[in-house]
Subunit: 151 residues, 2 copies
DNA sequence: CCTGAAAACGATTAGAA
DNA sequence: TTCTAATCGTTTTCAGG
């Protein structure tokens, strides 16, 4: 991304991934073909890595979310944790972290018993201690990475 | 969302928000107009809440992410925290949590000094103690909420 | 709730600057 | 990189089952 027009394009498409080239073009003051060329470059260069629909977790039966810090008990497994947990669909994110624990997971499930089952599944997949922090309420998430500048 | 076709649609559009109605129609075996009507219903009923481009944090100059747990020192401020922090663009997510702290933030900044500045800005905005956990590596995040069933 | 067809609109490409 | 203009594909709307 190397000019303010690219920045605005990224901000716009980040806010509405289904915006038409004509709409984007109107925002940045270029023709649709110029916008298309820029979008393609942003995709090819890895600035834009994809487009996703935002889905209401409640609507798809997963209203309960939590952070799970995990620490492998067997040091030999430590590097494999992300891969060993990838098959668990409830695990939405996996980061390695600095601090007491080795990894931080963000998970979404339907009910408290589902959370218990998930924690057991994690322990089945890899030998770890876990520390779970339940989310009571999400005020915002997925906020745009590139804030829209005031026009 | 109340049938398997809706579920597949949500899964598909969640994987590629810019898929055309024709592509989606091919996946679910309906006409484009039927798919369009279903998408509209899913949007209107709040199952699909929006469409966003995924942007590489590194590419937009924010390679450093962290979790910040915060606990208000002044109980009177406790409910206002999400709103008081909303103006900080680095704060990507804000959840209230069960546990020692009151809130969990997920933040993205450019550099360690930026993180220090952010923490000071948070303290300026609201009277809190903070506990920061730096992310060393993100293995995955934003995984699809509705896993694609095996076809 | 679906299909299918017609019309409107957007995306894509080529050629020129 | 950009624009314009022609072509092609997609979305939208509507009649009918």
């Amino acid at each position: 991304m190397h000019d303010p027009v690219d920045a605005r394009l990224v901000a716009e498409v980040s806010r509405d991934a289904r915006a038409t080239l004509a709409q984007l073009a109107a925002h940045v003051g270029l023709s649709t073909s110029a916008v298309q060329a820029r979008l393609r470059r942003l995709e090819a260069s890895g600035v834009i890595t994809g487009y996703m629909a935002l889905v209401s977790p409640e609507a798809v039966g997963r209203p309960l979310s939590a952070f799970i810090e995990i620490t492998p008990l067997d040091p030999a497994q430590i590097d494999d944790v992300p891969q060993l947990l990838e098959h668990l669909a409830a695990v939405e994110a996996c980061h390695s972290i600095a601090g007491d624990a080795s990894y931080m997971l963000f998970v979404r499930v339907g009910t408290p018993p589902d959370l218990e089952t998930l924690i057991r599944d994690i322990r089945k997949a890899v030998n770890v201690t876990t520390r779970t922090t339940v989310v009571l309420q999400t005020f915002y998430e997925n906020r745009p990475l590139v804030p829209r500048e005031q026009p």
